[in-house]
Point group: C2
Chain length 455, copies 2
């Protein structure tokens, strides 16, 4: 099984729980989102399951109504650096917004994480879509949607440029000769663009992965275009296999159109699993999970995608409210999906909230049945892999102990790590340093010039 | 021995070495400044020696002429989070500039570090004084010296305000009652100042230390005033015991004048040590250390304090060059100290560079002699403690094995940790949350109003 074409698995660390009311489960850890022991435990389970990576989501604005996991949680760069020391192989992917962190600082923290984890860093690129965020960062207004992706594109170019500051092997440390840094191998970027002016160089030399792996979660037209141009991986919460297939097909087409090999952009489906040994147990667990999905929580979750709109002011069983202009400046892909479904199925607000405001969908059944569903989606080309969340406390450990061995026995998933880096797990090449590449190209041009009549 | 009044010890992690040429030592680790194994090893040695903290310095701008340790090194938030997982007691202090990081992001990373280290975070507040730094952060000009400290004062107020967002015990997680967050215990900051507008709240609840410990390194008038108003600890590189005494006395006076107990600002002297078992060995090691201090390195180091001025263009043995206006916008305390010495002692450029461009001064001798010097400075009131750097590879381990036991036997230094937090080691109280304090004050006023005639 080539790693590049094998099934890929990531796990989202959700601390206290990934739904609005999952903290009320008897085994939910109340301070789970800032509990280092819980994070260490889950990261170790994921590594035991030979997962490609663990994933830390993020946001930069809360109020009293925020979801428990959002209210108080570890910051990604710090928690991932900590987890690097208690794991050996698993990738460490963290969410960072391009909206409110200087590219120099971000480039540095990811390079540092890649160094100290020996090549396991991944950056989930987001444009912060909560309107309230601007007020935490001395800004009057949040950046508009179109401008945001122009900024994101430029930002990624700056960060990649900074990561190339040092050529590989620049620091020679020749003690006899007295040469620490090989002359001419440290480069200024001298970027001057619409949003940023960054001279460089970065004060961290070439990292194990060359560049950390780039993730993105996007559903809008701009988001998909951004991923096709920049990302190594993208994930979404698919409604069903057909929608997932269409999403992946669209992204592969866009990636090819952007001049890239579509096999270098991996599409992850966000799901959770409920595994039981009998049909009755599965039904009981499923009902238990649903009992923690309150309508109040679903309304709040839905509101987040609609620019923090307060849906609780409307009648739950009346038709979905008329479109407000403010919704359209928000997370566009989600809003469009919801409004299309409302239009087509004539949904009430309650129906809409329960359909779209719930946590990720689940694959449910015996270990074999869950493995069957994962295999079916993967082999149908609906996904390249899955971003797993935990449906109920304990379910992730059960997945690793009972479902992973089946995937391994079927030859779908690795039985052990064959690499120590995240790029290695995913089968992604280490990007060549741009200055080395320039010299290679110049040398080839030179050779071609010297041997013009050889063909 | 009360912890508050005991000798305090910190260790600076310097990776490849703290001088310009120390990397040429046969045992220097060439990639030491990005070598996780070396950082882990040194942090563990410091913890074995019961040190109060390890310290990570930082800067945000390099070029080909930069000092080896500056060229490529770990970023503080990431490396300290990593070290938190391989140590249990020792404090973790990192340098962050107020000039180029959003206060919301900084408040969060330190709160996260404090959470995952269970109360061991410290923030060394700096204003970035290298002119070239601005060009890495989309700024035309670096901020002037006076404005910089006004900004730093406001910044610290914002960050402290964000750290108070959650009252202690705000997250109750009452599963039966369905109350996750106790109403009224999460507060917006609503800061609007000259430089920042930050609404809050921070998305991290009360951390073990309340606020991380605040460090500062400052010599200028503005820097000392800032420390007197804000810092828990300050450090400098003293020229001799008398200068150290005067520095500490001045800071204690300023701290009292700012309305604080002077015993809550600890003054650290930056030194290194050379320990040998015979006089001959000490002399040999001292000569070895000096052999790695090149005049070229000393000139570059001196230039850094003078706004990156290139001193190599001047005759080494001519009188020190005439004052340039650009020097005065730089690291003012250092510039004044150097120019005063040049004036008084009629120094040449070479003499100035060798006196001021060298790494920290050393205490040298047998273990007892080095302990004597530490004790003398401490008991004379010249310092509250020392920030130790390593003079030569291996010397830090020798210090921990041979000098620390003497300090312990003399009752000057702890024999074991009596606390798990940095505040605990230093004997500093956990600051009361501002909203809790407001209620306490209101209640006291209320009591006083009800019992007006009791006296």
């Amino acid at each position: 099984m080539g790693v590049k074409n094998g099934l890929k698995l990531g796990f989202i660390l959700h601390g206290v729980g990934r739904g609005w009311d999952s903290w009320r489960h008897p085994e939910a850890v109340i301070d789970g989102s800032t509990n280092i022991d819980l994070y260490v435990k889950q990261a170790k389970i994921a590594e035991k399951g030979k997962f490609d990576f663990v994933f830390v989501a993020d946001s930069l604005h809360i109020d009293e109504r925020s979801m428990p996991h959002y209210l108080s949680r570890f910051e990604p760069a710090t928690i991932l650096s900590a987890l690097a020391m208690v794991t050996q192989h698993i990738g460490l992917v963290g969410t960072f917004s391009v909206s409110y962190t200087e590219p120099f600082n971000l480039a540095r923290q990811f390079a540092s994480l890649d160094k100290l984890s020996r090549g396991r860093a991944g950056w989930n690129v987001v444009t912060s879509w909560l309107e309230g965020t601007a007020a935490n960062f001395s800004r009057d207004h949040h950046i508009g949607h179109g401008e945001r992706y122009r900024l994101a594109n430029e930002y990624v170019q700056v960060v990649k440029g900074l990561w190339d500051s040092y050529e590989p092997g620049a620091i020679v440390g020749d003690k006899q000769g007295g040469v620490f840094l090989k002359p001419g191998t440290l480069h200024q970027l001298n970027h001057k663009g619409e949003f940023f002016s960054v001279r460089g160089p970065l004060n961290l030399d070439r990292m194990p992965q060359g560049h950390p792996v780039l993730f993105q979660a996007g559903n809008s037209d701009d988001g998909r275009a951004f991923a096709a141009a920049n990302a190594d991986a993208i994930f979404s919460l698919p409604r069903n296999k057909e929608a997932a297939f269409a999403y992946r097909a669209d992204l592969r087409e866009r990636t090819a159109a952007a001049g890239r090999d579509p096999d270098t952009l991996f599409v992850f489906g966000g799901i959770s699993t409920i595994v039981g040994s009998t049909r009755e147990e599965v039904q009981r667990l499923s009902a238990e999970r649903n009992s923690y999905a309150s309508i109040e929580g679903a309304l709040l979750s839905l509101g987040q995608s609609f620019n923090d709109y307060d849906f609780s002011q409307h009648d739950l069983d009346a038709p979905f409210p008329a479109v407000k202009e403010e919704w359209l400046s928000s997370s566009q892909g989600n809003v469009k999906t919801v409004l299309a479904a409302v239009e087509q199925d004539k949904l009430t607000l309650r129906e809409t909230a329960l359909r779209f405001g719930k946590p990720m969908d689940s694959f449910e059944g015996s270990p074999e049945e869950v493995a069957d569903q994962l295999q079916d989606w993967f082999e149908s080309g609906a996904v390249d892999g899955f971003m797993l969340g935990e449906s109920l406390p304990g379910q992730f450990e059960i997945f690793v102990e009972q479902v992973v061995p089946i995937l391994q026995a079927r030859g779908l998933f690795r039985s052990d790590y064959s690499s120590d880096t995240l790029r290695g797990h995913l089968g992604l090449a280490v990007p060549e340093n741009r200055y080395v590449a320039q010299r290679h190209n110049a040398a080839e041009t030179d050779v071609a010039r010297k041997e013009p009549a050889n063909a």
